[in-house]
């Protein structure tokens, strides 16, 4: 229970369904701020207090579990290391994979719980003893992407009570229950970067290191203070001294951490039609190996793109029917069959 409206209503629904529910708030920051600033994050003491008050209203026990060390090692340090390696990680996915549905779930099971429930918007159905994860009814709120890294074992111990509901309905339900968080703003940003300044956070973690910005011909067109301040597809903030010969806008096409070089070029350079992804995980019970047609999504709010998929135990190759932009190493490629989440893999390269 983050203290937000989604997990609050998820808990309320489980209580209404007759489950024996215990509220758990995760302390993920070693030095939590006392109060929220703006709508960011869910890790302040005020957020913990919001969650505690919801538990009071629902009449369920409530505990704060300290996972700050695990979170720091598995999520924050990984986030920094991935940027340092020139990749673009998604820390929320990582948190689901390593913390919420792993460390928290394991601790809960050992203590005698049966499952972890969250306020994620996704649908979980059982068919022939298999837990199947589908997109939520509210396409705008669908969060199946950030759950796409979960394995069948994890999904079998998961509950997503908000499936099939649209956000305004959730808020109305919270208001009807008398929960003060009914009108609380959604959090959007990375919870451990409370001011929303990712580049500043990475600079504090990794320092500044002077490097060059080159065009596709290798000509130096600018300088930068660290490749980790850029992501593939970025257009703003390049501060190039030399205009492009054709006068058109330029985008980050590639990042080379070994030489601390950022390559820029025209928008066409971003087009990708083939993705190589590694370390596949399978949401379905039987890994979907071999060749099959499906959909791939590479960002939390990205489109599902039709594609041909070739998978083996070590990796996945995705050939997109139509080329796409803004696909960077480090992102998760989540594979769908219609609305069914099949599995996920980490993008190693795209061309």
């Amino acid at each position: 229970m983050s203290g937000g409206v989604d997990s609050s209503v998820a808990a309320a629904r489980l209580v209404a369904d007759g489950h024996e529910v215990v509220g758990v708030h995760l302390a993920l920051n070693r030095h939590p701020e006392a109060y929220r600033s703006g709508s960011r994050g869910c890790c302040s003491l005020e957020d913990a207090q919001d969650a505690r008050r919801v538990a009071d209203v629902l009449g369920i026990p409530f505990y704060v579990w300290d996972f700050s060390e695990r979170f720091h090692c598995d999520v924050v340090e990984n986030f920094v290391a991935e940027y340092a390696a020139g990749r673009t990680p998604n820390p929320c996915l990582r948190c689901n994979e390593k913390i919420k549905f792993a460390a928290v779930l394991d601790r809960g099971l050992a203590l005698g719980f049966d499952a972890v429930a969250t306020g994620h918007y996704a649908r979980l159905d059982w068919a022939d003893d298999e837990a199947r994860l589908y997109r939520a009814a509210d396409a705008a709120k669908d969060q199946s992407y950030v759950l796409g890294v979960l394995t069948q074992e994890q999904l079998r111990r998961s509950l997503f009570p908000l499936y099939g509901t649209e956000k305004p309905q959730v808020r109305a339900e919270a208001a009807a229950l008398g929960l003060r968080v009914a009108a609380k703003p959604d959090s959007h940003d990375i919870c451990f970067i409370s001011d929303g300044d990712t580049a500043g956070f990475l600079t504090r973690a990794l320092g500044e290191r002077d490097g060059t910005i080159v065009d596709t011909a290798g000509t130096v067109v600018g300088r930068h203070a660290g490749h980790h301040q850029f992501t593939v597809g970025q257009r703003r903030g390049l501060r190039l001294g030399v205009p492009a010969t054709d006068g058109r806008p330029r985008y980050v096409l590639g990042i080379s951490p070994a030489t601390n070089t950022v390559t820029v070029g025209p928008r066409e350079g971003l087009a990708v039609s083939a993705i190589e992804a590694i370390r596949p995980t399978w949401a379905v019970a039987e890994p979907r190996l071999g060749r099959w047609r499906g959909l791939v999504q590479v960002r939390a709010h990205g489109a599902a793109m039709p594609c041909a998929i070739a998978a083996d135990a070590d990796g996945v190759r995705v050939d997109l029917d139509a080329s796409a932009e803004g696909i960077a190493p480090g992102q998760a490629a989540v594979l769908y069959d219609g609305d069914l989440v099949v599995g996920a893999a980490t993008i190693a390269s795209a061309a």
């Binding site: 024996e20 913990a48 026990p61 505990y63 601790r107 050992a110 203590l111 005698g112």
Partner: protein, 386 residues
């Protein structure tokens, strides 16, 4: 894992004990009477009479003079008044330092820490008792020293006689936080030789929101909280007459029952300790032996667990207990007391406290012991490499 209504086994009296019926009656009796005890009119005089009756009753219960009782909002305020007031006095007397043991309650520890470079820390041994070497370090630069009577986590009884003697030799004024001693050990302010001691009502079955600094009339303390000059100018503000009345009744009752309660709770503690240590690896913290530990506190380390998990499992089994140490945003921190005793961070994060009061029964102890093996086993299973 039924969380069954409010049929609870409450073994957390050191956090807050159950209100005694006699104290509740005294509070109710005084609560609705109009009048400020500082007012000179009839209603004021009536309020003052209730307050002074309470002061005398409390003084009699703890071997002090009525004039030595300064009512406060609780133990924490009394501790703050004596540390800040002692430091304020010492600064003008060439005694800029204030000393405290390394196992004090946060009300003392944080007050002393706030003095910055003027803090002196008195180390403890493996049982949590302040050492002779530490006491030998007291000298004429120290204004006041504070060593608690009974430790709130482990129940360890400090060698107060030795502490008082060492302070006398160095001309150091001496205070003791006696919050966990009252009702469980004989407490006589006059016999103790202390210059000041702290008491709290709700730890002995009185109401929450009142306590006292019992302080000799010649004890030098600067006034650190200003106002109308009530309570010897040490604690300005209108005294809550009804709470003071309830406090005095609770104190008198617990002191009157001391001999039989000590024996009764001591037997319960022995039974609990024997049962808890039946689980592999569990050890009781603090000193052992007659008189060395409070009969009302049993603090154990359960290696290979998080205290939070043990508490959760016991809570689910209907048992209210705690670690006794500070928690930040709902998460227990490693016990500073155990760390000061030289124990590992793992031990300091794996310890729980059971504490008794007048309402504790053998059924409470049996309930803990019935839930204990499963709680320990599950908490150990849940203890990952986090």
């Amino acid at each position: 894992m039924a969380s069954s209504g409010f049929a609870r086994h409450y073994v957390d009296h050191a956090a807050s004990s159950a209100l005694r019926p006699s104290a509740a009656a005294a509070v109710r009796g005084a609560w609705e009477a109009v009048g400020n005890p500082s007012s000179l009119h009839a209603s004021g005089r009536r309020a003052r009479a209730i307050l002074e009756n309470a002061r005398e009753q409390l003084a009699d219960a703890v071997g002090a003079l009525p004039a030595e009782v300064v009512f406060t909002s609780g133990g924490t305020e009394a501790d703050n008044l004596v540390i800040a007031g002692g430091a304020g006095w010492g600064a003008g007397e060439g005694r800029p330092f204030v000393a405290a043991s390394t196992v004090e309650h946060p009300a003392i520890a944080q007050s002393v820490r706030a003095l910055g470079a003027r803090a002196v820390w008195l180390g403890v041994d493996a049982e949590g008792l302040v050492t002779g070497a530490a006491l030998d370090s007291l000298d004429e630069r120290v204004a006041w020293a504070s060593v608690m009577w009974v430790n709130n986590e482990t129940g360890a009884v400090q060698p107060l006689g030795v502490v008082v003697e060492a302070c006398r030799r160095a001309g150091v004024r001496v205070h003791s936080d006696a919050v966990q001693a009252l009702g469980h050990l004989p407490v006589s302010f006059a016999a103790s030789g202390l210059d000041a001691m702290t008491l709290s009502a709700h730890k002995v079955g009185g109401p929450v929101g009142v306590g006292a600094l019992v302080v000799r009339r010649d004890a030098p303390l600067a006034t650190v909280s200003h106002g109308g000059g009530q309570e010897r100018t040490l604690r300005s503000g209108t005294v809550p007459v009804a709470l003071a009345a309830g406090f005095a009744v609770a104190a008198a009752e617990c002191v009157a029952a001391l001999a039989s309660e000590r024996a009764r709770l001591g037997a319960l503690r022995a039974r609990l300790a024997a049962g808890l240590t039946g689980a592999a690896g569990v050890r009781v913290n603090g000193p052992s032996g007659p008189g060395a530990v409070s009969p009302a506190i049993c603090h154990v380390t359960v290696p290979g667990t998080r205290a939070d998990d043990v508490l959760f499992l016991l809570d689910a089994a209907g048992i209210d207990c705690s670690t006794g140490s500070a928690c930040t945003a709902g998460v227990h921190q490693p016990s500073d007391v155990l760390l000061a005793m030289g124990r590992s961070e793992a031990d300091a994060s794996a310890s729980v406290r059971f504490s008794f009061g007048h309402a504790t029964t053998v059924a409470d102890v049996e309930a803990v012991l019935a839930a204990w093996p499963d709680a320990v086993a599950r908490a150990r299973a849940a203890y990952g490499p986090a």
